[in-house]
Amino acid sequence: MSGIIPAPIAQQPWKVIFLLCIIAGFGVVVLYSAAGGSMSPWASRHAIRFGVFLVMALVLSRFSENVFKFFTFPVYVVIALMLLGVELIGAVGGGSQRWLDLGLIRIQPSELMKPAIILAVARFYDLLPIGQIRTWGAIWPALLLMGIPASLVLLQPDLGTTLTILAGGMAVAFLAGLPLRLFVIGAAAMAVIAPLAYFFGLEEYQQRRVTTFINPENDPLGAGYHITQSKIAIGSGGMTGKGYLNGSQSHLDYLPEGHTDFVFATMAEEWGLIGGFAVIFAFFLLLRWGFGLAVNAKTRFSKLVAAGLSTTIFFYIAINLMMVMGLAPVVGIPLPFLSYGGSSMMTIMICIGVLMSIDREMKQKRRSTLS
């Protein structure tokens, strides 16, 4: 094998690239239909973006673990400053915003923080001496690392991203070996705090989203409209769907955001349960790869990073699917590789790139130990 194909090519994680191409390709197919049977405006740009970010991920995968370790904290600090910058601009300019316009590109720092927080927390536990994992000193720095970006994002206000950042960091802390009872107590505390947070911490539109999620029929034309129309799309698709390009919910504009957050409903209407299962299975394969890396990686940092990034991707998928199926409030989290949108695609691809790098190093080490 190694004789015919040059080593750099043979070393590429072809299985994963193939899997990603299939999911994103299906995304192009679905977006083609969402635009009423047209490559523009979404399908072609989605394909191009995917290509660009895949190259970016492959480039990222060439860096070694040490490079990531070295850059983790500086990058974390830069992104945290950018979050602060967004807040300040918002405060000065009036009205909240999530974007940072850098002239050439517009960056959404909260998106970048999702992978960055994983790397930072993982790096912290990597640096922490083994014996200190069950001390107070293992807890507060991690909480600080998570707390700063989480509170900045919450100010935007962007509840979905806040929760993703916190959940990602927590997952790494959990895997790093913090005492179990902290998480049990934490969960119990959440059960108490959540209602309080609902009444005092959430914006009115966020509160409405929660109440609407609990009973969408209460407000069928207002905020509940999204959830109801999404369920209509998925439910009316049935087993095999209405057929490609025949989705009435999406084509007649009943389904709002049918190309972004609710792309799964657009897909399910035309492809039915079979399409839905295929997408879920494809994501399962992707996450299995990620967790496989976590278990098999050789260094503590790469183990924690692999599991943490996989969990971040999982959050995207799970919260989006729960939202479109009426199991979670509408929080505005896109579905990886299927939803149209550059920002989230970049975040996911950064995760993928880091995971690929871990994959590559793991294989290299295995190879070197074998020879």
């Binding site: 209509i232 439910g235 698709g237 007649l252 839905g276 967790f291």
Partner: protein, 659 residues
């Protein structure tokens, strides 16, 4: 010791952690985390299965109800046709425009464009704006109907600039004879809130749908309505129609055939001219009503399009009451037209037609003298002369001998005081007074002068023109004729009355003498070979004699009503008619109308020639006269408004000066 225990405790509490144990913890917790995520994945797969399979039917239905919009197509209304199949009411293809407020973007701009395109008047724009304010958003508002094709086309081209504007092709009701059939047919109009509450039929709030509001249109609403068609269209969330899925044509309402003769109906209406009056013509064997005209009337076409304020005001303010159907709701003292009936009662009571009384211009009844209309007196009067000369004294005299009861019984037998089984909203049945009636009504006993008054059709006696025509029919045919408005499948002769045929013949001959002999209405003769008209004149006093004789020389509203009942031909009666001219100044206003209307049945050209000459002197046809009346009314209203407004500024400035 103490310190040692503490240290022990701390060591116990703090587990020994190595890289290996940490790895085991990591792997265990990774397995847990991965397992939890897989569980969430399974939960999602299960949830999706539940929605897409178990609840599939429900969501599919909702998806369909999103996608498919069902619109009703108002059914074409059944035609109303006359006995010969000529339409009295039909439908004309119509272009109309509605506005759906929810779909409008710039309301002011859209209305401005529509005003420009359709040349809407300020009045109409005001109504549209008010409708827009009151609207519930999804329900269409009518902008205009009856557009011509050019306007419709111009509008359709500019639709993309005006979201919310919905042009429609539909049908609207048309009455070719206009005002001549107003009272008979009624009219149609948009459904009111109360009517919708009553029926709750979604068809009623479909744009363009109209419901019968009066007359036959209202009575036969359910038959005429038909079944709505339906159109299933695919619509986007914003209500834009993508394509038509299926269409079911409407089932037009059943045509309704009337016994009316459309031409005769119109002729009679025209012949009434500027008078306030009515004409009833019927088949005296079957009771089929050939004409039932009441004038002046309203134009049902303008009512059906939504009548303008001015036109309605004109109708309401007119002292000739164009809004009342006088055939059914006009009650008049029948005057001398009852004399044939009273004569018949005398004969049936055993009075010989040859018995006479001498009339010298009046008769003392009790302590009061009752005059004959002819103060010079008629000399010796028998029954025939009593009828053809309409001698009051003859009837004063013999009525006292026979008594009121046989007369009242005969009146009822001939249809007076009767309510007929007709598909009409209401009919006034009048009064046939008798001793019992008076006791009940006034708690007074019947007096001889009551009888005397009743025998000449005055006093308490009241009847409507239809009853007069029925009375005439029953005398003419001897049959118990009931008036019929709908054309029966087979002509059915009414059963005979139990009145001796020879008695009827005596009365008919006397009625012939009214016209053809030495009677009171010789100008009523038909100039048709072999067709003789028989009739009886009547003059009904409106006010006491102190105002004068009630002739043409007094104020209009004090003039006597002119009445005439008749039938033709004499030898073999076929048609019976009644004519009432309110405040016509006497029967001479009525019988020329009857003559011309019956002439029309035999010789249309001759009748039309007479009519055209008359119409020229009146100032044109019904429509022309209504139009000029309308203009005069509007001009007068404007003048009134101007005279009210003119002095206002002066008083204002005066008030300011005082301050």
């Amino acid at each position: 010791m103490n310190r040692k225990r503490k240290a022990n405790k701390a060591r116990k509490k703090r587990k020994l952690i190595t890289a290996a144990s940490q790895n085991i913890t990591f792997n265990r917790r990774t397995l847990f985390l991965g397992g939890a995520q897989a569980a969430v994945g399974l939960l999602l797969a299960g949830r999706m299965t539940y929605i897409a399979v178990a609840e599939n039917e429900r969501w599919e239905m909702l998806s369909e109800s999103n996608r498919v919009n069902l619109t009703l197509i108002p059914p074409r209304r059944g035609w109303i046709i006359d006995r010969n199949g000529k339409p009295l009411a039909n439908n004309r293809a119509d272009f109309r425009v509605d506005l759906i407020p929810d779909r409008m973007k710039d309301k002011e701009d859209t209305i401005a464009k529509l005003t420009d395109l359709l040349r809407l008047s300020d009045d109409e724009v005001g109504r549209i704006k008010k409708d827009l304010e009151d609207s519930r958003g999804f329900a269409p508002i009518e902008i205009a109907s009856g557009l011509d094709y050019e306007q419709f086309a111009a509008l359709s081209v500019r639709l993309p600039d005006m979201p919310g504007v919905a042009p429609l092709r539909g049908f609207s009701r048309q009455y070719p004879s206009g005002a001549a059939v107003g009272h008979l047919l009624g009219y149609v109009g948009a459904v009111s809130a109360e009517e919708y509450e009553e029926e709750k039929n979604p068809l009623l709030i479909t744009p363009g749908f109209k419901i019968g509001k009066d007359g036959l249109e209202k009575q036969f609403e359910q038959d005429l309505r038909g079944k709505p068609g339906a159109k299933r269209v695919e619509v986007t969330a914003r209500g834009k129609i993508v394509r038509e899925l299926s269409k079911r044509e409407d089932v037009p309402g059943k045509p309704m055939k009337l016994a009316i003769n459309a031409d005769l109906q119109e002729y009679a209406a025209r012949r009434l001219g500027p008078e306030s009056g009515s004409v009833v013509v019927m088949d005296c064997h079957t009771g089929e009503l050939l004409a039932m005209s009441s004038m002046p009337s309203f134009d049902p076409n303008s009512f059906s399009d939504g009548i303008g304020f001015n036109e309605y005001g004109m109708l309401r303010d007119d002292d000739h009451v164009p809004l009342r159907n006088k055939v059914l709701k006009g009650l008049y003292p029948p005057g001398s037209t009852v004399k044939p009936m009273v004569g018949l009662a005398f004969l049936e009571a055993g009075l010989s037609p040859d018995e006479t009384v001498v009339c010298n211009g009046g008769l003392r009844v009790g302590n009061r003298r009752f005059n004959c209309w002819n103060r010079q007196g008629h000399g010796r009067v028998d029954m025939a002369k009593g009828i053809y000369q309409s001698c009051d004294v003859y009837f004063y005299y013999f009525a006292q001998r026979i008594g009121m009861d046989p007369i009242a019984a005969m009146a009822r037998k001939l249809g007076m005081g009767q309510t007929f089984d007709l598909p009409v909203t209401s009919q006034f049945y009048g009064t046939v007074p008798d001793p019992e009636w008076k006791r009940k009504k006034y708690k007074q006993s019947w007096q001889a002068f009551d009888t005397v008054n009743a025998t000449i059709g005055q006093g308490y006696m009241l009847s409507n023109p239809l009853q007069l025509a029925v009375m005439s029919s029953r005398i003419a045919s001897g049959r118990n004729v009931m008036p019929k408005l709908l054309m029966p499948k087979r002509h059915k002769l009414a059963p005979n009355l139990d009145i001796a045929p020879e008695h009827l013949q005596i009365i008919r001959n006397a009625m012939s003498d009214v016209v053809n002999g030495p009677g009171t209405a010789r100008r009523a003769q038909l100039n048709i070979p072999n067709v003789k008209l028989a009739g009886k004149t009547g003059t009904a006093q409106v006010v006491g004699l102190q105002f004068g004789r009630g002739g043409r020389d007094v104020q209009w509203k004090f003039r006597d009503h002119g009445l005439f009942v008749c039938f033709a031909p004499l030898d073999n009666p076929r048609y019976a008619a009644s004519v009432v001219i309110e405040h016509g100044g006497g029967s001479s206003a009525a019988y020329p109308v009857a003559r011309d209307v019956l002439t029309f049945l035999y010789d249309r050209r001759k009748a039309m020639r007479a009519l055209e000459a008359l119409e020229q002197s009146w100032g044109g046809t019904i429509e022309q006269r209504m139009a000029s009346k309308m203009n005069a009314y509007v001009a007068r209203k404007n003048a009134e408004k101007a005279s009210q407004n003119a002095p206002a500024p002066e008083t204002d400035s005066a008030a300011e000066a005082n301050e």
